[in-house]
Symmetry: C2
Subunit: 222 residues, 2 copies
């Protein structure tokens, strides 16, 4: 398996951009074996809102948010050409070998194995890394709406600098919020997976990462 | 099985009211065997929004909305005392016999059997009636945010009259939108189930229906 690619839910805010990205993923799958893991986006946001109003248990909120990933996954399966949504890791593997784009719906695996802590520190980033480790993928690529990890929040600080490469230990030592979830570095440390954070508005960057070329992104080195 | 009770997602807009209702459901379960089926509410609304923006297939939107019912079910399981969320009809039956409140998460049953048409005409109302027929329940009770079915939309027409009782055929002949989904009468005709529409702000009405007493509601007679 070349890569598990997480498509961030925030990308759904721009249908034109998301469709372009999804078309490119289908082309990428002709050269590389990939599995797509959906983000949660608006579907997980609805859960966050109820979590605040109802003070849900961490476990319930976690499960509800994971169902939000299934929902976005079913949406992605509609717009990625030659794709197929599946709950099964082995089906995902077989589909990727046939140059299709498997969209992995994580709820059943996560509910059965329950391998990660139930908290909002664990989002689809960590779940994608977990799926990548289960599939023995070479890398996990987190496709999001920013260019990568910055020295500070680029939406608030225009002078923030993109960090092209950092180690997991450096990410663990980061004090401020980044574009990836808080649990991710712990999981990368354990799974020894290389992780890329890349902007979905430029799908050629994903192709470049898979081709081993330099591009605009952040590599979190295991 | 005395009744399958659908708790409408719109009731989640008032946490205090929903909690009172949920406490009463737990008391009701001590006298009657019930299974709760969740509505979709805000979780299904998020799907509707994306359906409009992405023109999803009817099947994808249907599945995504059903996952929204699972999400609301997990929320209900947090606030109904002595409840347990389950994907299994037989577990739900057993739980109800032990005076617990089973919250039935419908996605797995619906994805496996796919018994109803995939459209927005089929919502949690029809799914609750389907579950009630599978469980051979005596009745299905749709708990919502209005007193029942009116002669016209009570939110728009203050002179609308509550209809205490109507036949399925009369409901089928109704031209305007009602508070229940469009597919429901067809399903009630087939399953020969009595269906009650009742306001969740007055949980004593649900208790009255189960006790065979007269109360403010609409009975759709099979």
């Amino acid at each position: 398996m070349d890569a598990v690619i997480k498509v961030g839910g925030s990308l759904a805010e721009s249908p034109a951009m998301l469709k372009t990205l999804c078309n490119r993923l289908s082309e990428i799958a002709e050269k590389h074996s990939i599995v797509v893991v959906p983000g949660g986006g608006k579907f997980a946001d609805a859960v966050r809102e109820f979590d605040q109003r109802y003070a849900l248990s961490a476990d319930a909120a976690h499960r509800m948010a994971i169902l939000g990933m299934d929902q976005f996954g079913l949406l992605l399966a509609q717009i990625v050409p030659n794709s197929c949504a599946t709950y099964s890791l082995s089906d995902a593997k077989q589909l990727s070998e046939r140059k299709a784009v498997p969209i992995f719906l994580p709820s059943r695996l996560m509910f059965e194995e329950n391998p990660l802590e139930a908290s909002w520190d664990v989002t689809s980033d960590s779940i994608a890394a977990y799926v990548a480790s289960k599939l023995k993928a070479d890398k996990v690529i987190l496709v999001t709406d920013v260019d990568g990890i910055f020295t500070s929040d680029p939406k608030k600080h225009p002078d923030a600098k993109l960090i092209p490469k950092l180690s997991v230990s450096e990410l663990l030592a980061f004090s401020q919020r980044t574009s990836v979830d808080k649990f991710l570095p712990k999981l990368l440390l354990k799974t020894r997976l290389d992780c890329y954070v890349v902007n979905g508005a430029y799908p050629e960057r994903i192709a470049a990462i898979l081709a081993g070329q330099r591009t605009v992104c952040t590599l979190i080195k295991a």
